[in-house]
């Protein structure tokens, strides 16, 4: 009753092929966007920015990227942390090398550079599959982080080996650096996330996305019906790395401001993003957001309840969260392998029929 496709007639091809063909979806998304762009910036404070909204935005971009590769194209990657590091260091080198370059272009170019690196590390995927590939991507994770640790050029020969983002402005407002206000960093990241989520949505339902899904479902069969595996796999790696690079650049530039590669881009980050897309839903744009929200909010929530409410020591809560996350992964894989996105689909089905049971 609330959610229905019927009665929503299209009279032109353009209307039929629009990104969100169902009116209910359009209304909900428009409301969410209005809320996110016009309401949240007025109420955002430092705590919400640093511990909830910015991590959510950055990680949902990374989850989007990995979901394109793993969820849509079926290539499991454990190199997300490494690619995020590429994005971050590209952002740093570009913005310190060309201080006058607009920050938007800096971040876009960082994504582009990461895409190139992603293609190089995606080459083995043409020969190897499944968890063999997962192991191969571990090479990128460890090698890239090592590289950024060992080659002084990447961190501009700074004594600490850290990189820190200088202040950059957009329309006269600081969006990076310590002077940036919460609403500015939030809106800046949100802009990227919204634009690229929209692009991802359209990529995945177009020719390219369909070729990825064909490769995922059965690569040999896809090859036989004329999907070129070279193009499909490498484009998936490129697009995925582009997103992950963007997220890495935002993670470093806007969210943290200063990073140290081993700490910030370790293997645990790769697993974190992988968990996001498993819990959120493999092969779903919406799922990437839900997964990212879930994995960023869950620790915050439990920390607040257990440390604040019960007075447990922090390290124990940390262990508890580990157990919980591990348990949830297994639970989701057993009960709902399609993740939270599938739960939403089921809910939509229920809404469609309500108040009747069938």
């Amino acid at each position: 009753m609330f959610y229905r496709e019927s009665g929503d007639f299209k009279t032109s091809y353009a209307a039929d092929q629009q990104t969100f063909p169902i009116r209910f979806d359009r209304i909900v998304i428009a409301l969410v966007l209005v809320f996110a762009f016009a309401v949240v910036p007025f109420f955002i404070n430092d705590y919400w920015e640093k511990s909830i909204l910015l991590p959510f935005l950055v990680w949902s971009l990374a989850a989007l990227g990995l979901n394109i590769l793993t969820g849509y194209c079926g290539q499991v990657s454990l190199g997300t942390g490494g690619f995020m590091a590429v994005g971050a260091y590209a952002c740093y080198k570009l913005t310190t090398g060309f201080p006058d370059l607009n920050i938007i272009f800096v971040i876009l170019l960082s994504g582009g550079i990461t895409a190139l690196v992603g293609i190089v590390f995606g080459l083995p995927s043409l020969r190897i599959k499944g968890f063999y590939l997962a192991v191969a991507t571990l090479a990128s994770q460890f090698f890239l982080v090592w590289l950024f640790n060992k080659v002084p050029w990447f961190y501009n020969y700074s004594a600490s080996g850290q990189i820190s983002m200088p202040e950059r402005t957009l329309f006269g407002t600081a969006v990076t650096g310590s002077a940036a206000t919460p609403w500015a960093t939030y809106l800046f990241s949100l802009l990227f996330v919204v634009v690229f989520a929209f692009i991802a949505r359209n990529l995945t339902r177009g020719r390219l996305g369909r070729s990825w899904m064909a490769i995922r479902d059965m690569d040999i069969a896809a090859e036989i019906i004329g999907v070129p595996p070279l193009q499909a796999k490498l484009s998936a790696f490129a697009v995925s790395s582009f997103y992950i690079g963007l997220s890495g650049a935002l993670f470093f530039g806007v969210y943290l401001g200063a990073v140290e590669p081993t700490e910030a881009f370790g293997i645990d980050k790769s697993f974190l993003v992988l968990f996001m897309i498993i819990i959120g839903g493999l092969g779903s744009i919406f799922g990437s957001f839900v997964g990212a929200a879930f994995m960023t909010l869950l620790p915050v929530l439990f920390k607040n309840i257990m440390v604040g409410g019960f007075g447990w020591p922090t390290d124990m809560v940390q262990h508890f969260i580990f157990m919980l996350v591990g348990g949830l992964i297994m639970f989701f894989l057993i009960v709902e392998p399609h993740g939270l996105a599938q739960l939403w689909r089921v809910t939509k089905e229920k809404l469609r029929l309500w108040p009747f049971p069938h």
Partner: protein, 333 residues
């Protein structure tokens, strides 16, 4: 011989010893992979968990004491002076069997017929869960494991090798840790025992039958569930051995579970389905990374051990995707 050559030999020997340690972890992977087609990422955490439990029993710690103390406001830590190493190992083994049973009962049973990659991700979840559980039960502080194995450099070997050097050069002999030698010996015993077990016992045969063909094994009356519990228990045992060796060598800490990651390239080199492959792969990686660090490492900044194994595996995969001894991968539509 000149000291330079002797140094290289020393590096290679130490690499071999490290390789043996990698092989110990990799063995557990291969066992589970052969019998159930599951790539068990949690193997490294199982080693960590086993080592933690062993130390906990040995020192007489109360499990979950931290949690109990926080919730009930008590102050319990130990229930007694602890027990001797042998008894503690037996008890830890019992815990690992219980764990195998639980994993089969609660996780694997529900994931039959899923794609391998789903199972792989489930074991990643298992790894996280067990890591949290282990820390919750026994505390996250770095522990010292000592079950009475000797350690330290071997003086005998130092004396033997000192005379190899050319006269007049100030060469002090090679350094080899006695503990590593023990590990190598134990690994050999373990491999022989596992081979005998799988060749000559009834359970072993059933195990190989399951590895060959699940359905055929079911039709001749082999219980898949029992076999899975057996396999996970054996893997738990191997994890315990690996945990003891690594724990005695470098203390029990979180980084122990990262060794599981190092075991992955070992497996790729050796092939997922081959026990000898796991050993050879471990040795190649061990020697390779030590030699690379010794020869090329200084030129490019060192600490190459972090990634060398993975890159080697990556290059290797390009030419031989099934590994050295693995079964050839044949794909059909």
């Amino acid at each position: 011989m000149s000291p330079m050559i002797l140094n290289t030999i020393e590096v290679m020997l130490n690499g071999l010893m490290t390789g043996v340690m990698y092989s110990l972890v990799a063995l557990g992977f291969v066992l589970i992979f052969k019998a159930s087609g599951i790539f068990n990422y949690a193997q490294g955490v199982m080693a960590l968990f086993a080592a933690l439990t062993l130390v906990g029993f040995q020192s007489g710690q109360i499990p979950f004491s931290h949690l109990i103390n926080v919730v009930f406001g008590t102050d319990y830590h130990n229930w007694g002076p602890g027990m001797n190493a042998f008894l503690a190992i037996l008890l830890t083994m019992a815990v690992m069997v219980l764990l195998a049973w639980l994993v089969e009962r609660l996780v694997l049973r529900h994931l039959v017929n899923q794609e391998p990659i789903i199972l792989f991700m489930a074991t990643i979840g298992l790894a996280f869960f067990m890591e949290g559980l282990g820390d919750m039960m026994w505390g996250a502080n770095i522990k010292v494991l000592d079950i009475g194995l000797p350690s330290g450099g071997s003086f005998w070997w130092e004396d033997v090798t000192r005379v190899w050097a050319t006269e007049g050069s100030d060469y002090y002999g090679m350094y080899i840790d006695v503990l590593d030698l023990w590990a190598a010996g134990i690994a050999i015993v373990l491999v022989v025992a596992l081979t005998l077990f799988s060749q000559y016992t009834k359970t072993g045969r059933a195990l190989r039958a399951v590895a060959d063909d699940h359905q055929a094994a079911l039709t001749v009356g082999i219980s898949l569930r029992t076999i899975w519990i057996v396999v996970w228990s054996i893997a738990g045992f191997v994890a315990l051995v690996a945990g003891i060796m690594w724990g005695s060598k470098s203390g029990i800490q979180f980084s122990l579970s990262l060794i599981a990651l190092k075991a992955l390239p070992v497996l790729i080199l050796g092939g997922f389905t081959s026990i000898p492959g796991a050993i050879v792969g471990g040795l190649i990686i061990g020697v390779g990374e030590k030699l690379f660090e010794f020869t090329i490492g200084p030129l490019i900044g060192g600490a190459t051990e972090n990634w060398f194994a993975y890159v080697l595996a990556l290059v290797f995969l390009m030419f031989r995707p099934q590994g050295l001894y693995g079964d050839k991968i044949i794909e059909r539509v």
